[in-house]
């Protein structure tokens, strides 16, 4: 019973740990962190902050994710759990400059 209680108490902490998450920033139609390393086998929360005035669409076929981020705003997506590998992503609205990759290892 005591152990159960302890686990219940720790659960919110565990949830919070994943919530801290990772962040990408878009400035001038570029991802400021072009390569983001995350651990494998766990779900992560990714916040993308678009500091440009124009909207952007975060898109990755390999991650199976897509999300529009309005100008001067942030968006949240959840990724994974991933197996080891490189997962490229783009800002679809400015594909020539907005390129990046998530490395799961």
């Amino acid at each position: 019973m005591k152990r159960l209680l302890l686990i219940t108490l720790l659960l919110p902490l565990a949830a919070h740990a994943t919530d801290a998450g990772y962040k990408l920033v878009i400035i001038d139609h570029r991802f400021q962190t072009a390569e983001l390393t995350i651990p494998t086998g766990t779900k992560i929360k990714l916040t993308i902050e678009n500091q440009d005035a124009t909207p952007e669409e975060f898109e990755s076929h390999t991650l199976n994710r897509e999300k529009v981020i309005a100008g001067h705003s942030s968006a949240t997506i959840y990724i994974g759990p991933l197996s080891p590998g490189r997962y490229p992503f783009t800002g679809e609205f400015h594909e020539s400059t907005a390129q990046g990759v998530i490395v799961a290892q």
Binding site: E57, H61, H72, S74, A75, Y78, H94
Partner: protein
Amino acid sequence: MFATAIIVFREVLEASIIIGILAAATRSVPNSKRWLSAGLLAGLAGSGLVAAFTDVIGSLANGIGQEIFNAIVLGIAVLMLAWHNIWMSSHGAALAASARSVGKDISDGNSACSVLLVIVGLAVLREGSETALFLYGIAASNDGGHSSMLLGGLAGMLAGIAVGYSLYAGLARMPMRWFFAATGMLVLLLAAGMASQAAHFLIQADLLPSLAAPLWDTSAVLSESGLPGMLLHSLVGYDSRPAGMQIVFYLIALFAIFTGMKWVARSRQAGIKK
């Protein structure tokens, strides 16, 4: 310019395919074209609004408002498509046979048509708002080459509309005895694909478990960035790296709507025999 054309094409394609299939499927329903056009206009107006309030929608529910919004829009569309398809499976043939004659058919057809308005409106709303945002971004940016990019956008839009129209024209030429089976099947797959997309958004928002992600990976064989993959994605909901949960949603929608169609068709036949 070319990149712009492709992006706009991709966004327009899905709505265009939905409208093409529905326009063909309801060809014999009186007034269906009027309702489809009304849906298109409502969707365009709505997509402007959604585009303008993207930041508001996005920031709802701790940053997953967009996914919830998309999932709700898709969910309603799936229900409407299901209802419509089940309705058509029992009334479609009768409507075609009576060939827009009786007044009763028109009042009967109106309820089915109001559903058309909602489906088309929602399809245009979702894809249109992204197109609007993208084009707004081009127009608002200060670097040169606006006009060529906007021209590309226009070309992509026309190409997307052309695909939907060809689909309509092709289906309209189909012999009557295959026509209802074919359009019924297409609408069924369309709805299942949308159910899978709804699941995709809920997984992205962490509201649903992914259940094996991806379940398979066929991106090397048939990528969604190529034209065939793009078309299949819009037509039957093809996904080169689907999560297990997407397949669950796909199959449930497929099975539920199919059963509904068969059941209604059979009970109607039984009714005629009596």
